[in-house]
Structure formats: structure tokens, C-alpha cells
Amino acid sequence: MKIPAELKYTKNDEWVRVEGDNVVVGITDYAQDQLSDIVFVEIVALEGDSLDQGETCAVIESVKAAADVYLPVSGEIIGINESLMDSPELVNEDPFGDAWLVKIKMSDPSQLEGLMDAETYQKLERDH
């Protein structure tokens, strides 16, 4: 299971890549593996929306489940990955790369301190 060291993580299995004042968000290798074959990605956030930490930004549907993706930090949506609408399988193939979901301009960068580093995320206890 890949857990890139340079990213930050949430307990809901989202990853965050910090790019200055902005962050890129996706779901982890573990999350895509748990969901199995992903058949549909709906990014429900619209560009220009200002959303709070914990709000739903996307819904990922697999052959066996549908999962919401929550915003790891508050901010304005400045980009959404439209290619996932037509190619949802990218989430299975390249969860940390081509399958990024949204870009956010952070409104409160201090929220990053509440996220986990790779080492902590790896040790996260799984109840399933």
C-alpha cells in the first residue's frame, strides 16, 4: 500500500498536497483498494464555492459502495478534476496522481496542523 511521505492525511483516507497557499486533495491508495472497482465520481463542489472543513466535496461510487469525500481544510474551490467524470477508473489506477479531486485555496492554513503525516497515517488503527 503506497503512502507517499510528502503528503498529509485525514482519518477518512483523504490525502492533501500543499502547494503554497493552495492544497490538492484526493483519496488514498488504501481508500481506493477498500472501495474496489470505482465506476462513478461526482464532484459536487463547484469552482468558486467556499466550503468548510468536513463538507462533502465529492462522491465516489464503486461496484459495492458509495463514499463521500470530505474537505480536509476550509477554503475556496479553485479547481476540479473533470477527467474523472469520464474516467472514474483513474482513482483505482493512480490515486495520488491523475485522480486528484479538487484544488482548494486555503482560508485557514493552520488547519493543516490537524492532519496526519505519512508515518502516523500508516499506523492508524483500522476497525475493518
Partner: protein, 482 residues
């Protein structure tokens, strides 16, 4: 003419409607009776009670208030099956149905002819004993029937996709509101609701949406208002604009402007239809409706005192994942053979739990099958002919009624098979008079629209012969001549 009995209690021999329930508590708990119907002997029961540390069964009901515990029902003694049948038949003979009366009553439930083949297919046990088709390997027949049903409804409404049905028209309309709410993830909270939507459906919407904190506007408009009067109520907070077509008063309006106004504010537009009318009218897809709902009862389903009916629900492909209810899909098996499965299940509450659009995914399997057989039997041209027959008979009736002094019908407003008659007396009185001559007159609009006490909603279908229509007009003429 048969004697009309006002109070059904007068006619029952014992004074109770159903004497079959007359079993007293001692009898219920008697060992010999229990073993006949339950798998547990008294010894089993004693062992279970001992295991959980309870002395007797009654102790388990301690939390109930005394006055509600084991009430004495004062039921009469039991009677034999033969006596019970006799009594039930006697009670049912008080019912007066459109088989005995001349009926012009509609307002959501319509008296249409049901070909015998509908019932003969429904009564095949392969269909009527089948449960939810979660296992495609044993449910191909049911799944294919649902798939055919969906294809017919999609074709009839002009929409991309139909679900496997809801309980009835009222719950289908409520699911449209629910879907619109979830489509905007609760961020738009206004529903523009025409008061020419069946008042009972509007009540069901309120029941379903209780606790959702939605604002409903449009219901306080004058009943004479048309769809374009709703346009100014639509804003950026509007999730859904909902109308009926033909509306509850039978009127047909061009919905183009209203649809455009809804879409200009990015709201969804939902149209509730009478499926028979679509044999003649433009389907709502031509008004760019996002959701089409309907009451499927006219499609081969008896009126049956209000149910079971059939909720039609169709939408555009882009909203399919927001749609509630089951969906059957066609696929191929590992050998390449055609097969049917429930599809896009992740929408449903057994997978998505609280995230699902609706927590009701039940469909009306058997009733949907009835409509499938009915529509297949009629075919496209049969449905068109039926719709024309309804239209022409209703217009004949309207013309004749408007020749009776004091009875006025809007001469301009187009209608399908139902229309409002303004009466020279309260509609309730007109109805009573007609009933005394074995005619079910129509729906007294004053019952739900206080300003409409003189308005009678009259429905005419292929079941009404010319002689019946002429007879009603005669009866009106006798009573209301100049």
C-alpha cells in the same frame, strides 16, 4: 333502486363488522391452540422465560401503561366460517361501485376498462408470490417485467429513464421533491408548488418533507391561476418547480415558459401526469421537464377504494444517480446471454444508508406488471385511440352539461377527460341529487378549495356511454330547469 343505508352498523347482524377477531385471551394462551400455530411449546416458553429471569410472559409488558395492557375488547362470540362469509358479504353489499352507479368521479382515480388478460397474467403465482428480485439468478422473470415497465414509462413520458415505480402518484410526487432537495444537497430550500396539484399529493409532500425545513410557495394563489403565475415566485433558492398536467382541475397548459423560468434559475422542473392523457398530449419531455411523475392507476389498475396504486417516476439520465427507487437493467451473463439485474444499487438505502436520496426503495412489483400488460396490450395506437375516446366523450359531456340553465363550463380552457362545471347550486347539493338517481356526480371542489363550493369536477372516460351522459344531463335539467 336499492335502499341506501347511511350507517353500516344498522345492517350487521351482530353489530360488529368483523366477528372473526373474537378470540379471548384465555383461548389465545391455551396450550392446545398455541401448538397448532406456533413452533413453541409451553415448555419452550418456560425455558426461555427462565433464561431471561422473567416469571411469566405478561411481565415483559410491564413498561406499558395499565390502561392499554390486555384491554377487554368486548368482542362477541366466535362464529363459523359460513356465518362469517354471510356477514361479510352482507357488509360488502352496502358498497356502491361504478359497476352499479353511473360514475363521473375522477380527481385522481379513474374508471377505465381493464382487459381480462391483465388479471390473468397477474394471477400467475410466478409473479404474485415473487419477492424483491435481489437475486438475479432466480428472478429473471420479475426483473424482465420491471425492465419492460421502465421502458414503457420512459417511452410514454419521453424521458431517458424510469425507475421500477413508487407506491402511488402521491409518493412519486413526494420523491420528486426529495430528489430536488438532495440534488442541491440541501442548499436550496424553496419549492414552488402549484395549488393545481392534487391536494392529497400536496399533503403527502408535507408528510414526507416534515423536518426538512423547506419553504413551499404558490399554494395560496387563486385556484384560477395558471402555471405562468408561478414564474415570479422562482428564485436562486428554488430547488423545484412542480406542476400537474393536465392539472387537478383538468386544465391543459403550455408549460414552456414555466420550464424556461425554472431552468433560468437552475431549479429543477417536475411535471405530474395522467398517463392516459399522453396518448394525446405532448409528453412533458417536450417542455424540458427534469422529472416526470404520474399516477399509474388508469393503466389497468382498479380504483379499489384508493389503492394499491402505482407511482410513476421518470427523469433525465443526468439525474439517474439522484433518483430514488429500484432500477432494473439489461446486461449479459458470462456466456453472453441476455439477462436482467438490479442496477446502480449504490443509490439505494441498503448501501448508502443516510446518504441515499430516499429511504424508500420499495416498488409496486405486481401493480407495475399490471400496467405493463395493459400498455403492451393497447400498444401505441391503442393508447392514442383510448385517449381520443376519453377526450371526445368528455367534450360531448361538457357541451351537453353547458346547455343546462345555470351550468357553466369555461369555453376557452383546453381539457382532456376532466373539467370543472360551475353549478347554480352548491356542488354538494348537486351531487346528492344525482346520487338519488344513481349517478356519482363528480368531485366537490369546495371540500378542499373553500372558494369553490359551486364547482364540480367531472371526469368522463371510455366507460361512460352516450346514454349515461345524456341521462345525467336529463337529471340535471329536471332539477335545474328555468
Amino acid at each position: 333502486m336499492r335502499k341506501r343505508i347511511k350507517n353500516w352498523k344498522e345492517i350487521t347482524k351482530t353489530g360488529y363488522p368483523v366477528s372473526l377477531l373474537s378470540i379471548d385471551k384465555d383461548q389465545l394462551f391455551a396450550e392446545k391452540d398455541l401448538t397448532m400455530y406456533t413452533p413453541h411449546t409451553q415448555a419452550d416458553r418456560d425455558a426461555m422465560l427462565k433464561a431471561i429471569g422473567v416469571n411469566e410472559l405478561e411481565d415483559l409488558f410491564q413498561c406499558l401503561p395499565d390502561k392499554g395492557k390486555f384491554p377487554n375488547l368486548e368482542l362477541p362470540d366466535g362464529i363459523s366460517e359460513m356465518e362469517a362469509l354471510d356477514e361479510l358479504q352482507f357488509i360488502s353489499s352496502v358498497n356502491e361501485t361504478p359497476q352499479e352507479l353511473v360514475s363521473f368521479l375522477g380527481a385522481g382515480a379513474y374508471n377505465h376498462y381493464i382487459p381480462a388478460v391483465v388479471d390473468s397474467i397477474l394471477r400467475r403465482s410466478e409473479f404474485y408470490t415473487a419477492y424483491t428480485p435481489y437475486q438475479p439468478e432466480i428472478a429473471q422473470g420479475t426483473l424482465q417485467a420491471i425492465f419492460e415497465y421502465q421502458s414503457l414509462i420512459a417511452s410514454l413520458t419521453g424521458m431517458d429513464v424510469s425507475n421500477a415505480s413508487h407506491y402511488d402518484g402521491a409518493t412519486a410526487v413526494a420523491e420528486a421533491v426529495n430528489m430536488a432537495y438532495h440534488n442541491f444537497r440541501g442548499k436550496r430550500r424553496k419549492i414552488v408548488l402549484s395549488n393545481a396539484v392534487n391536494p392529497q399529493y400536496r399533503e403527502t409532500i408535507q408528510t414526507y418533507m416534515k423536518g426538512m425545513d423547506l419553504e413551499f410557495v404558490g399554494e395560496d394563489l387563486d385556484p384560477e391561476a395558471g402555471p405562468d403565475d408561478l414564474i415570479e415566485l422562482i428564485d436562486e433558492n428554488t430547488a423545484l418547480v412542480l406542476v400537474q398536467y393536465p392539472d387537478f382541475f383538468g386544465r391543459i397548459f403550455d408549460l414552456t415558459k414555466l420550464s424556461e423560468a425554472a431552468h433560468a434559475k437552475k431549479a429543477l422542473f417536475s411535471v405530474h401526469i395522467n398517463p392516459i392523457s399522453l396518448g394525446l398530449l405532448k409528453p412533458p419531455s417536450e417542455f424540458d421537464a427534469d422529472i416526470v411523475t404520474g399516477e399509474g392507476q388508469p393503466l389497468g389498475i382498479p380504483m379499489s377504494f384508493g389503492g394499491p396504486y402505482l407511482g410513476l417516476f421518470a427523469t433525465k439520465k443526468q439525474y439517474v444517480r439522484k433518483m430514488a427507487g429500484r432500477l432494473a437493467g439489461e446486461t449479459v451473463d458470462t456466456h453472453g446471454n441476455r439477462g436482467y439485474v438490479l442496477t446502480l444499487n449504490t443509490r439505494e438505502q441498503h448501501i448508502r444508508r443516510e446518504q441515499a436520496t430516499s429511504n424508500i426503495c420499495t416498488n409496486q412489483g405486481l401493480i407495475a406488471l399490471a400496467s405493463t400488460v395493459y400498455l403492451s396490450l393497447l400498444g401505441k395506437s391503442g393508447l392514442q385511440e383510448l385517449a381520443k375516446l376519453n377526450y371526445h366523450k368528455a367534450h360531448y359531456a361538457a357541451d351537453k352539461i353547458s346547455t343546462v340553465p345555470g351550468f357553466i363550463i369555461n369555453p376557452v380552457q383546453p381539457f382532456f377527460n376532466e373539467f370543472v362545471v360551475h353549478c347554480p347550486a352548491p356542488a354538494e347539493e348537486v351531487n346528492q341529487h344525482l346520487l338519488s338517481r344513481d349517478i356519482l356526480g363528480g368531485y366537490d371542489l369546495g371540500m378542499v378549495y373553500p372558494s369553490q363550493k359551486y364547482e364540480l369536477l367531472v371526469a368522463v372516460t371510455e366507460m361512460n356511454t352516450r346514454a349515461e351522459i345524456d341521462y345525467m344531463v336529463e337529471v340535471l335539467e329536471e332539477e335545474y330547469h328555468d
